[in-house]
Symmetry: C2
Subunit: 349 residues, 2 copies
């Protein structure tokens, strides 16, 4: 039991050097320092004990050396410091009027046992604990809001729309598919293994699903599942998949660009050849980043919490235990090793 | 003077065979048939004398052999028949209640002296003749509405926005630039010759303009003119220009996709590599086709006619005389030979 004011050891996950492509397990190391469990005198910071950390694809962008013309929306990590991401934590000490000892919060924290958070105003207080706390790294956290905003705000879905989701078993994709099914859409997902495809069909209620690694020709695969074309594409992967999707979009189709994970680690991104379809088919393609949409969080929570409680929506997590397993867990999402949302448990309370 | 009921000779411009790339002068031929200047008994057609024909980039799509996965929004032409496009014409005989002999109209007609138009309900009656009649092939016709819809409806321009227009001296581009200047935007255009660049600067009031053929590196050229990035890109060319623009877009920038002329004639379109910018910069990119927006025409006319009369907006045409010059004029727009909107005069009255 952590005692406020005590000096304790603090395990951290630290980036050793910038990574040219996707991170490997050896790119991060665990080290132990000490920390005093108390906020500095007069500060408005909060000191938290981290419980769950979120493994997200965009973290790879922060591990790359910044290049002038490499587009990124996040700052590179500081070498030798713990990496930063979303997580669930418990407040141990607070100088901020909004938070008190014992509060549960989610938001930006560091990959370590205890963190001093100097901008606590960006944290969300967790009010509903009848659902698993780890959900606030996923369905009730950043990925959940991402799926909600990207499907319902960037697109304008209508009942019966033909919806395609790539990386469909991931933290965001599994929710997009379920949101679309709740709107009586026809929903097809792609994923990278038989196990994931089975999950889409049996657990998340997708109408159809396929393993993109087993398709000789993605264009043909999409024609098989969408003989009349795609109304909405929820884009998580980019590259060749996007190129094939463009050929199969319907007139006035919509593409919500949430991620392009196939491109993040490439020195020179792949060329996409079928952009003339954007003109010919009058496609609306729009990129979004959830950070711009956090004002939607309360409304999102009001929508999704009842759906979870009534069992109308489900969520699959892949749980790694302990900070020692964090680097393997994080590098695993870029190799497609996770099944569902990848979470690292630092501590369960 | 054409007399109704008379049988007269009718010169036509006919497509000889489908064209693999852009049309050359020799791909079209002029032939002469005869036509009776009278609508069939009981028909609701109109018979018109064509005055001005519009040379538009999209016509090249109709000259290509249709391929299953080549995106197109128009039907291929019928070989051996006159080609079809927008034009200005005078009604000689009418079975339609909306039109009577002597009316001036603009809309879809054929490249010949006289045409029987069987869907006259799609024609627009020309009510204002204090401006050059040929303007209804350009600033007051399809290209004008294209510029208006593409800039004001597909984008949401704000005062002071940094606007880039490619193919800026063309039928659409010259208007987009002027619409943007009327909104106090900073406007830069690219074109393919010194003469066109001069026109942008001296005639259309662009803030800056450059000859893309003289730039070693389009990315660097754009950085020179947009050190703080581009808010709105009006896309007419596609390919390498689009790729460089993506690198220079600002966060929440908008791309209105009106054309991609550099790609129309390619067997395999060029790859565009910087689409990750759509995500990272939260770009809204949308294709549009003016055919979907003809309901805006009356409002457009009310907006633009006064601007022409007050001299607040100007328009440059490149006039070719006679159907014999039509093929050279049309193929010329793909070689960039025209300065301003390319029009073919069939007859001046």
């Amino acid at each position: 039991m952590a005692v406020v004011g005590e000096e304790v050891s603090n395990k951290q996950v630290v980036l050793k050097d910038y990574v040219p492509g996707f991170p490997k397990e050896s790119d991060l190391e665990v080290r132990t320092i000490t920390i005093r469990l108390k906020i500095p005198e007069g500060s408005k910071a909060v000191l938290v004990k981290n419980l769950y950390l979120s493994c997200d694809p965009y973290l790879s962008m922060r591990m790359q050396k910044p290049e002038p013309d490499r587009p990124s929306f996040v700052e590179p990590y500081k070498l030798g410091s713990p990496i930063i991401g979303f997580g669930v934590a418990k407040v141990l000490d607070s100088g901020h009027p909004n938070f008190k000892k014992g509060d549960l919060v989610w938001g930006t924290t560091e990959w370590e046992e205890y963190s001093l958070i100097t901008s606590p105003e960006d944290l969300f207080k967790i009010e509903h604990t009848d659902v698993p706390l780890s959900y606030y790294t996923g369905i009730l956290g950043m990925p959940g809001l991402t799926a909600y905003v990207g499907f319902h705000h960037i697109c304008s879905p209508r009942k019966g729309d033909r919806v395609f989701v790539s990386a469909a078993s991931g933290a965001v994709g599994q929710l997009v598919g379920q949101f679309a099914k709740l709107m009586d859409c026809y929903v097809v997902g792609s994923a990278g293994s038989k196990e994931k495809v089975d999950l889409l069909l049996t657990k998340f209620g997708f109408d159809e699903a396929f393993n993109y690694k087993e398709e000789q020709d993605l264009n043909m695969a999409l024609k098989r599942y969408f003989p009349e074309g795609i109304d909405i594409y929820f884009e998580n992967v980019g590259g060749k998949m996007l190129d094939s999707v463009l050929l199969n979009m319907r007139i006035h189709g919509q593409i919500s660009v949430c991620g392009m994970i196939s491109q993040y680690a490439l020195e020179q991104p792949e060329g996409v050849h079928n952009l003339l379809c954007i003109l010919v088919k009058r496609i609306h393609m729009e990129g979004f980043i959830v950070l711009d949409h956090f004002d939607q969080y309360p409304k999102f929570l009001d929508t999704v919490l009842p759906l979870i409680r009534e069992g109308k929506i489900t969520y699959v997590e892949d749980i790694a235990e302990g900070l020692e397993s964090a680097s393997a867990a994080l590098s695993g999402i870029f190799a497609g090793r996770n099944i569902g949302k990848q979470v690292v448990v630092v501590s369960r309370e």
